[in-house]
Each structure stands twice: as C-alpha cells, then as structure tokens.
C-alpha cells in the first residue's frame, strides 16, 4: 500500500509571511494541529500547535510574528508512492507524529501516526474476527 492511500484528511498550507495569530485561528477553525508552510509551491516547514506554544506564547513572541519564525524547518518528507512499511520505519527513526507527503517535491498531503494507528486497528480487528469466533464458539464435531 502506498502512503498517499493512507492520507485520511485534507491538508492546509499557509505562506511564510502569515502571522502566528492567523496560523492559530486557521488551526482552530480547521481542527488540525499542523499547517504546511509553503513558499513558491514548495514546503519549507511545518507549524504545529506545539510550535505556537513553545516558540511563540511561552517566549512572549508578538502575535503578528511571521509564522516562519516559529515553524519547524528541518522536516522529513516522504514521496507519495512510498510503501507504507517504509513509512513505519521513518516514524520509528525520527520520532515524529506527522509526515508531509510530497510528489515530485511538491506537498500533496499529510499522514499522521494517528491515521496509521486507526488503519492498523481496523486491519487487526478484521484479522482477529475469525480467531475470536473460534475461541468463543469452539467448533465441536457432532457425534453419532
């Protein structure tokens, strides 16, 4: 399975010149915890709710500060066609919860650990169903 097939929801991007107040409002309205920061079609960073708290509010940064001053710019990305198993390894190695998905270098979406856990839980449930059935309702041969 490709990682792009695991993207469950739309993503939102903002330009680096947007303020941190804008970013917070956009996250709040959209119910997301991260925005892609896009400059000339390329993703240059991610700004998360955690970035806004730790690098913004906690440091008394003015609310009209540009979002690129608090974003995380050293980001890991993954190509859209990458196999899902390789993505597990990326999450494991980098200890991140969100992974921007790119196609030809251009941002196309975001995959999160939460998305993958939900997918895996559903798969596990499907796999477990016949086993649970067998354990709970053991098959008995009818005699005679």
């Amino acid at each position: 399975m490709r990682v792009i097939d695991c993207v469950r929801r739309s993503a939102i991007g903002v330009g680096p010149e947007r303020t941190i107040t804008d970013a917070a409002e956009i996250m709040d309205q959209a119910g997301v915890g991260a925005l892609a920061v896009i400059d000339r079609g390329r993703i240059i960073g991610l700004v998360t709710d955690r970035d806004l708290v730790r690098r913004g509010v906690a440091r008394h940064v003015p609310p009209d500060t540009r979002v690129d001053t608090v974003m995380t710019s050293d980001i890991v990305t993954v190509e859209a066609e990458t196999d899902l198993h390789d993505v597990f390894a990326i999450f494991r190695t980098h200890a991140i919860r969100r992974l921007p998905v790119v196609r030809g270098g251009e941002f196309v979406g975001m995959v999160t650990v939460d998305d993958l856990v939900i997918d895996l839980a559903a798969d596990l449930s499907d796999l477990a169903r016949p086993i649970i059935g067998e354990v709970l309702f053991a098959h008995r041969d009818r005699l005679g």
């Binding site: 993207v7 739309s10 939102i12 991007g13 409002e25 956009i26 309205q29 925005l35 892609a36 979406g109």
Partner: protein, 66 residues
C-alpha cells in the same frame, strides 16, 4: 480533484458533532484544475492553500480518488 475558480469545496467534519466546512476556490495552482487551491473559508474568511484529501468534494460532485 479538478476544480475551477468559483467552485465550492465541502470538507466533511471528522468528529461527532463537527459541522462540514466549505471554501471557495480563488486560484488553481495545479495543472489541469488540480490542487493545490487558494481558497477562502466560509466560516472564518481566512484564505489558505488547500490540499484536498478523501474528506473533500466539490459541491455537487462525487469525491474522486487519488
């Protein structure tokens, strides 16, 4: 997804009780109507770039696969 300026995109809510959101396409930045789109959100008036996922559809059209 293929959109044109003026199209309205609806994004379904993700949690119980979440309303759907909608936005208007102001600019198409991809080729042949593809994403990303510069959109204006109906509830907040904010303009952002929008990268549609499976939760989004152009109003009046069925969602398309990736």
């Amino acid at each position: 997804m293929q959109a044109k300026v003026g199209d309205r995109i609806v994004v379904r809510g993700h949690h119980v009780g979440d309303p759907n959101r909608d936005c208007e396409v102001l600019e198409v930045h991809g080729t042949d109507g593809g994403p990303p789109y510069l959109v204006r959100w109906g509830d907040s008036g904010h303009t952002t770039l929008f990268f549609p996922g499976p939760d989004a559809a152009i109003q009046g059209r069925e969602p398309t696969t990736k």
